[in-house]
Every structure is written in structure tokens, then in C-alpha cells.
């Protein structure tokens, strides 16, 4: 499998990135703070405001290193893109299928089947691993409801019904999400999802994890030559990376939510690593972001067996493999898009 390379996270707000030979150099007040060879990097995530030199942007683009700019709170701003990768025939096929509600639903259905299946098993796992700590009856009840939705998803052939079922499944899942949190309950609790802005610690963590996941998914899609803005479940809306959102569906629970839960349960993230703003918004502070990012990197290196290909690979490559499988379906190598199933 493709080699999993490192992501460089630049968190010092007033740092500036430049190119020196084959290295990316992090400058602070014109003083060199760090230097990394470009060929060891897969992506650079820059959280700050000073930016990077055009020479570095060009070098990243031509070597396939995704260079993303985010605000210091992790809101995505921009990405340095080079020549478009891959082949126009593949993208046109993507657009053709995306134009047809029927064809879109064939693919979208599998994204959602993957999502509901994986989320259901997150609940099932909790009843197995922590039977003494969680309300097993309640989790089992909701998991059963999700299984029921799965059986309705299989024959579903229109996008509106699909979205309705997905919404119902999400309600059952988030209804018991708080049960999964087992540590520091007075600081980490989940009532419902708040995004704009996140209004408690757990929502702040979820939002941040989804941003990181979105970045990984977008990079995966672009690297196999797909257009991350043209989706199947998520329809076209200017400025929205619809296909990225589509691909994220099957990973939200199993990749991002589980990551957040284990950060809390393993006490890798602490209440003092958050700060609350006047408007009620809650954000990770510098220390918190550092803790999350290093855990994210570590998680990406953990190995799993891919359920469809039956091959061992690091978690970090799973979005890439799924993007590749999607492109193979669009090309006609496969009879359907095989979602990533986790148990």
C-alpha cells in the first residue's frame, strides 16, 4: 500500500513558511525554527495568519503535498492547488452520474449504509466493552432501531428518502452519544450537536476532528483525480466540497467520533485545554489543539484490516483507499461502491 507520510502541523500563529532547496522552513521573526524535507510530507496544515511563500506553494503543488491554510481556530481558509491530477474522462463520468438523481442515489446509499452500520457498531461495542458503565438496554434499543433503518436503506432509491432515513439514524445515535463518555463527566457531556459555533467541550472537539477528517478526505479524493466539489448525496452548492462531505459520512462515527471519545476517556484532553468566548462559543486553546493533533497523527498510524480488500493498512490510508475504490466504481472496475464497514 501507498506509504503513509507525515502531516506537518504549524501551530505557531506568527510563523511564516518558506522553501529552501527541498526543505520547508518555519520562520519566526526571521529566525529559523524548524526545517523538514518536503519528500517526507504528505500535507502541511498551517494554523495562523502570516502564510507561506509562493515558492513553497508551487513546490508543494508540484510534489503533491497538500498545503492548507486554516485560522488558528481550525476553520479552513484555502489550499494551494497545482495542476489538476488525473484524467478528465473520470471527472466527466463523475459529473454525469452526479447529474442523475438515480445514479447518485446508488452511490449515496452506500455512503449512508456505511455510516449507519459503523455508528451502530460503535454503540454495540460500548455495550460489550463497558457493560458495567453504560446503560446497555438503552444502547441496545437504539442500535436495534438503527438496524431497522439499515434494512430500509438497502432498497432506497431516491435521495430525499435516503436523507430522511439518515436523519433518523443520526437521531438514534446522538440520542445515546453521551453514554459513551466515561470520564470527566462534569466537563465532558453531550446534549446535542452545536456547530456554529460549538457551545461545549465535546462539540468543540467534534468540530475540530471533522475539520481534520475533511482535510484528509479532500486530499484523498483530489489525489485519485476526483473533483471534491461534485457530490452525490450532497448536491451542488457553490463553495461546498460536496464529495468530501459524502466520503466523510462513513468515517464521521468510526474515525472522528471514536477518536474524540477516546481522547476524553483516556484523559488525553483536559478541561483546561478549552476556552470559552463571550458569545458562548467554546474552542480548544493552543495546548488543546497540540494534544489533539498529535493524537490524530498517532491514530493515523494504527493498523486495521480493510474489510473489502482484506489487506492490512494504516488508518490514515483508509480515506485514500475509499477514494480509489470510488474512482474504480466510476470507471467500471466495480459493480458498486464498497463502503468501509467497521465492527
Amino acid at each position: 500500500m501507498r506509504h503513509l507520510l507525515n502531516t506537518l502541523f504549524v501551530l505557531t500563529e506568527d510563523s511564516y513558511l518558506t522553501l529552501e532547496g527541498e526543505n520547508v522552513v518555519v520562520l519566526c521573526e526571521s529566525e529559523v525554527r524548524a526545517r523538514f524535507p518536503l519528500h517526507t510530507l504528505q500535507a502541511i496544515l498551517y494554523f495562523g495568519y502570516k502564510g507561506a511563500s509562493p515558492a513553497l506553494m508551487g513546490a508543494c503543488a508540484s510534489r503533491g503535498v497538500t498545503l492548507s491554510f486554516l485560522t488558528s481556530f481550525g476553520k479552513f481558509l484555502a489550499q494551494a492547488c497545482g495542476k489538476m491530477q488525473g484524467n478528465v474522462l473520470l471527472r466527466k463520468q463523475q459529473y454525469r452520474l452526479s447529474d442523475s438523481e438515480h445514479d447518485s442515489c446508488q452511490i449515496a446509499r452506500h455512503f449512508i449504509i456505511g455510516k449507519v452500520y459503523n455508528c451502530r457498531w460503535i454503540l454495540e461495542r460500548a455495550t460489550r466493552d463497558h457493560a458495567m458503565r453504560v446503560d446497555v438496554a438503552r444502547l441496545k434499543k437504539n442500535s436495534l432501531q438503527m438496524a431497522e433503518i439499515l434494512s430500509q436503506l438497502a432498497p432506497c432509491s431516491d435521495l430525499d428518502t435516503l436523507r430522511g432515513l439518515e436523519g433518523k439514524a443520526a437521531n438514534f445515535y446522538f440520542d445515546v452519544f453521551d453514554e459513551l463518555i466515561l470520564q470527566n463527566k462534569e466537563h465532558f457531556y453531550f446534549q446535542n450537536r452545536s456547530r456554529r459555533p460549538p457551545r461545549d467541550n465535546v462539540n468543540a472537539l467534534l468540530s475540530f476532528a471533522y475539520t481534520l477528517l475533511a482535510n484528509d478526505c479532500a486530499a484523498a479524493l483530489e489525489s485519485v483525480g476526483l473533483d471534491s466539489y461534485v457530490g452525490f448525496l450532497h448536491r451542488d452548492r457553490p463553495g461546498r466540497a460536496s464529495l468530501t462531505l459524502d466520503l466523510m459520512e462513513e468515517f464521521r462515527g468510526v474515525y472522528a467520533d471514536r477518536f474524540v471519545i477516546s481522547l476524553i476517556n483516556n484523559r488525553e484532553i483536559l478541561p483546561k485545554q478549552f476556552e470559552q468566548k463571550e458569545n458562548g462559543a467554546v474552542w480548544l486553546n493552543d495546548e488543546g489543539r497540540k494534544a489533539v493533533l498529535s493524537a490524530w497523527q498517532a491514530r493515523k498510524k494504527a493498523t486495521i484490516t480493510h474489510p473489502f480488500l482484506n489487506e492490512k493498512l494504516p488508518w490514515g490510508l483508509v480515506p485514500y483507499v475509499q477514494a480509489l475504490l470510488l474512482s474504480r466504481y466510476l470507471r467500471g472496475d466495480l459493480d458498486a461502491y464498497p463502503p468501509f464497514f467497521w465492527k
Binding site: A154, L334, P338
Partner: protein, 221 residues
């Protein structure tokens, strides 16, 4: 007659195609390319062989590097690593030189002679281009292998020429359809730099529909 320039394929694709039709399609149709050790080493070697400023005379032989060649009939374009022009009464005149010259194409390869004839096919296609461009007949050329440091003669037999033509026809057909063929996975997949883009397992007719159904079935409680 023949193909328009727009339809020209890269001559170097012949050896990809001879190695694996799917590999060729991934590179030339899908525009996916991944370097590995073999390809990087190959590039270093060719940088020298292709330096077109290095035209020299040695022992009365004119040595040209990186000559661009093409053929409308075959619909290909590419470059020869080295073409030697030997002075010979049965040769052809060339622009800017006196006398008659017999062209002998030489292709440089990293590694050693291989069992399959991909290298010979590529060399033969180069010769067929040169024949059209110079209006002459080229009976043979050489393959030079980096590991053995020896050149090996290749005779451009009618059979070899037929194989070149047939392959190119098939390549043009696939390219026109934009189709990436499935190919039986083999040992040579392990040496291929595109293994992770190709996912050879997918050529074994894995059914994603069955895979999804299997997982949904477990859910019937």
C-alpha cells in the same frame, strides 16, 4: 492517411503495454504515475542518454542523442536514446552532412536483459519511425543494459514488426474508448510502481454488491 498528431500516443507506452495493459492504461489514460526505486533509477540513466546537446563523432560514426521521432501510420511519437549513423554506401543522405549514412538505433535500459520482449518492441517501434522519417530500411539495432554493460543486437524481423503494429492498434482502440482493461494479477505486480493505484485485487471480479449485502445480512437479527 494515418493518425493526426492529436491522436499520437507515446512510444514509450509500448513497453508499459507489453509489461501490462492495465499499467499502460493507468499511466496513459488515467494519468496516474507513481515513482518507485526502479523508475527513479531509470530516470537518472536516461537523463544522460537523452541529452540532445551531446552529438558527437567517434571513429567516423555520428552519435545523436534524444532524437525526436514519430510515425503518422503508427500514430506514435517519442525519442530515441541514441541513434548512431554509420557511413555506408547503402545508407541515406542526412541534412547538413556529406555522404551516405546508415542509422542504427540504440536503447539504454537499466538492469539486465529480460525474458519478455518489451524492450525489443520499443526499439523496433523507434526504428519503424526512423524508417518513415528517413525513407530507408533499418534491419536492426541494439539494446544496452546498465547492469551487464553490454549491447545486445536486435533484429527487426517481420514478426516483431507485426507485434508492434498489432499492439499499437489495440492501444489506439483502448485510448479511444478511454478504457482501463482488467488484467490477471501476477508476480510482476510486486515490481510495479503502480500497484497501489491499480489495486490488482479488483481484477479478480470482487463484487461490491455481494460485499454490501453480506454486511447487511448480518444485521438481520
Amino acid at each position: 492517411m494515418g493518425y493526426s498528431e492529436d491522436e499520437f500516443l507515446l512510444l514509450s507506452g509500448l513497453q508499459h503495454f507489453a509489461f501490462c495493459k492495465r499499467q499502460w492504461a493507468l499511466i496513459h489514460i488515467e494519468q496516474q504515475w507513481t515513482e518507485n526505486l526502479h523508475t527513479v533509477e531509470g530516470n537518472f540513466m536516461h537523463e544522460r542518454a537523452h541529452d540532445s546537446s551531446l552529438t558527437e563523432f567517434r571513429d567516423g560514426i555520428l552519435i545523436c542523442r534524444g532524437i525526436q521521432v514519430f510515425s503518422r501510420e503508427l500514430g506514435i511519437t517519442g525519442a530515441c536514446d541514441v541513434v548512431e549513423f554509420h557511413p555506408s554506401p547503402d545508407g541515406v543522405p542526412i541534412v547538413g552532412r556529406e555522404g551516405l549514412w546508415r542509422p542504427v538505433p540504440i536503447e539504454y535500459k537499466k538492469g539486465r536483459p529480460k525474458e519478455h520482449d518489451a524492450d525489443a518492441l520499443q526499439l523496433c517501434a523507434q526504428a519503424m519511425c526512423l524508417e518513415k522519417m528517413l525513407v530507408c530500411t533499418i534491419p536492426g539495432g541494439y539494446l544496452f543494459y546498465g547492469e551487464t554493460k553490454r549491447r545486445q543486437p536486435v533484429e527487426f524481423t517481420p514478426e516483431l514488426r507485426h507485434t508492434v503494429t498489432d499492439m499499437l492498434n489495440e492501444m489506439h482502440m483502448l485510448y479511444h474508448r478511454g478504457y482501463t482493461p482488467k488484467v490477471k494479477p501476477s508476480k510482476s505486480c510486486n515490481a510495479c510502481s503502480l500497484i497501489e493505484t491499480c489495486l490488482p485485487k479488483l481484477c479478480k471480479n470482487l463484487s461490491a454488491v455481494q460485499y454490501v449485502n453480506k454486511h447487511l445480512k448480518e444485521e438481520d437479527l
